[in-house]
């Protein structure tokens, strides 16, 4: 029986046009719609696959932010056993520190540890620094492997074989003793889809737990001076017109280079 924890977070959906707040150092909250971080969705899927394969319980954990309930109920509908919110986080330019805070709260441990596997996405688009897993591993004195794309567990031997992506399609295989913290790149299968009806059912029949954030508040060791929209370097020659017109122009470009 494995005890699997999956630490997830919500990030702004980049399909929306993100606007910078008047302070110049954060995003305008009105422009932000939060969704589950893509890599965390893979971490959850990897956790669910492991639970199904080897048996055990899966707890999904997230910081309490708007929209988090939907994400947690969706995880329950997908097969998570427990869903926990970390509450009472100070607002602010927290994306750089939130991961650390979640890790510290978990380490301070509201009955969630010991775990056999702690999974989280290898990085998230709002900080791109991939620190959640390593901080957690450090605090719990556990090994960490990132960019994972396959995990096999030998429950008897209390060990796992973890496949990590390197470059050019080459992967590296590691044997690691449990417990371990993994930064998931891709689950072995695409994240499962769950119908809305099932999520609604989970909302009726299951409940979310909360634990207050604890541990020293995460130290912000970097100072954000300014956020800005990148200037286009304008390298591309832009073509416009109706689809047929653009298609014709593109074909001319290709023909001129002998590519047709």
């Amino acid at each position: 029986m494995l005890n699997i924890l999956v630490l997830v977070k919500l990030v702004p959906d980049t399909v929306e046009e993100l606007e910078i707040a008047p302070d110049g150092r954060s995003l305008d909250p009105a422009s932000v719609r939060l969704i589950l971080s893509e890599r965390d969705e893979h971490a959850l899927e990897q956790g669910l696959l492991l639970k199904e394969r080897y048996g055990g319980t899966l707890t999904v954990i997230a910081l309490d932010v708007p929209e988090v309930d939907d994400v947690l109920f969706t995880a329950l509908a997908k097969g998570a056993d427990r869903a926990v919110k970390i509450t009472g986080m100070e607002p602010g330019p927290s994306t750089w520190t939130a991961a650390g805070l979640a890790a510290r709260t978990l380490a301070a441990g509201p009955g969630l540890l010991p775990a056999d596997l702690i999974l989280t996405g290898v990085q998230a688009i709002d900080d791109l620094d991939g620190q959640a897993g390593p901080i957690l591993a450090r605090l719990l004195e556990l090994p960490y492997v990132g960019i994972t794309c396959r995990v096999e567990v030998d429950p008897g031997a209390r060990s796992a074989v973890v496949v990590r992506e390197y470059v050019g399609g080459v992967t590296g295989t590691f044997e690691v003793s449990l417990p371990v913290v993994l930064g998931v790149q891709s689950a072995e299968k695409p994240p499962r889809y769950v119908p809305v009806a099932k999520v609604r059912a989970a909302m009726k029949s299951q409940r979310l737990e909360s634990v207050p954030a604890s541990g020293e508040s995460a130290v912000m060791r970097v100072e954000i001076l300014q956020l800005m929209k990148p200037e286009a370097t304008g390298r591309a020659v832009m073509l416009d017109g109706a689809p047929e017109e653009v298609a014709a122009q593109l074909c001319d470009v290709l023909a001129a280079r002998g590519l047709l």
Partner: protein, 326 residues
């Protein structure tokens, strides 16, 4: 000793990666601005053999240890965590690739030092290094400065031209020793090559690449038709591979393949650095994207702001007509 700027020499399977030279070129500028010396940090049992092209640096700090034979992130991080306190550099610049990905966060967690990742540039302002970091898939940039030294920076590919940092001269070498345990909870078992697919995309002249903008698996057929008409093959970005709409052998980018075709048609691909690294050397890059601010337009030669689902079929028709006419 004070004032050193370090660049980690990234090696992959016995070869120094180009990005190392790019970061050395940047490190040279930072070192000059901070009046420090530039040190190339080389880890590995055969570290001594790889220093002859590192002349951009004033010195090479060499850590030779059998446990460093393969780039196992935890072990590398442990070695760096031992030598950083010994010499207290102002900054450590790490080439940001899949090989080194965990080093920055592991070091930051271990040494409680600032870590700034996804830097597309670092400049010195008022005596402080200020990094330009990309966020939100390239939609926002942050200028960020560390609050203390030493600070660790993850530097994206393309920060400077590699030629600028490749100097065929061996810098002065200083050997540093580390004390690494013989047993780690993590044991490296070996590498596995990707199973060859039906098509080797690194050998194709024309690649039609699809990203998340293709939206549905059925739509991949639109790209297949265009690729067939152009005499090329279809490849894709990570989300498309993650969804198994295309096999892993078709992935372009840092984890996938590096391709240099005559034509790379990027359809519904935003141009994240991990993707760009795999295709930016293509002779002709054409991007079709609904978002006029998509970073792919910065590396494309030709761009169209529009719906690929409309433009691609129109192109296929055109190409086929052109072939019939000829």
């Amino acid at each position: 000793m004070a004032g050193e700027i370090w660049v980690l020499v990234e090696q992959w399977r016995g070869r120094i990666s180009d990005i190392t030279y790019e970061v050395l070129a940047l490190g040279r500028e930072v070192a000059e601005a901070l009046a420090g010396s530039l040190q190339a940090v080389v880890l590995g049992p055969g570290a001594g053999e790889s220093i002859f092209s590192l002349g951009a640096a004033d010195g090479a700090l060499m850590v030779e240890h059998s446990a460093l034979a393969e780039p196992v992130p935890e072990v590398y991080a442990l070695a760096l965590a031992q030598i950083i306190p010994q010499r207290q550099p102002q900054a450590l610049l790490i080439p940001q690739t899949n090989v080194t990905m965990e080093l920055g966060p592991l070091l930051a967690a271990r040494l409680a030092v600032p870590f700034l990742n996804s830097c597309r540039d670092v400049q010195v302002t008022d005596g402080r290094p200020v990094a330009r970091c990309i966020l939100y898939g390239g939609k926002v940039e942050a200028s960020v400065t560390p609050q203390s030294a030493p600070a660790v920076f993850g530097i994206l590919p393309g920060v400077r031209p590699p030629e600028q940092g490749r100097v065929e001269r061996a810098p002065a070498v200083r050997a540093l020793s580390v004390d690494l345990p013989t047993e780690f909870p993590l044991r490296f078992r070996g590498y596995t090559e990707l199973e060859a697919g039906d098509v080797d995309i690194t050998r194709e002249n024309v690649l039609v690449a699809v990203g998340r903008g293709i939206q549905r698996p059925e739509n991949v057929a639109l790209a297949e038709e265009l690729a067939a008409a152009l005499g090329g093959a279809v490849c894709g970005s990570r989300p498309v591979i993650d969804q198994r709409w295309l096999p892993p052998s078709r992935q372009v980018g840092t984890s996938g393949m590096i391709v240099k075709p005559q034509l790379y048609l990027a359809l519904g691909i935003s141009g994240a650095p991990e993707h760009a690294q795999g295709m930016k050397e293509a002779a002709l890059i054409v991007a079709i994207n609904t978002d006029p601010r998509a970073p792919i337009f910065d590396i494309a030669h030709y761009g169209v702001v529009g719906d690929l689902l409309e433009i691609v079929p129109a192109m296929t028709t055109r190409v086929k007509q052109g072939k019939q006419a000829a």
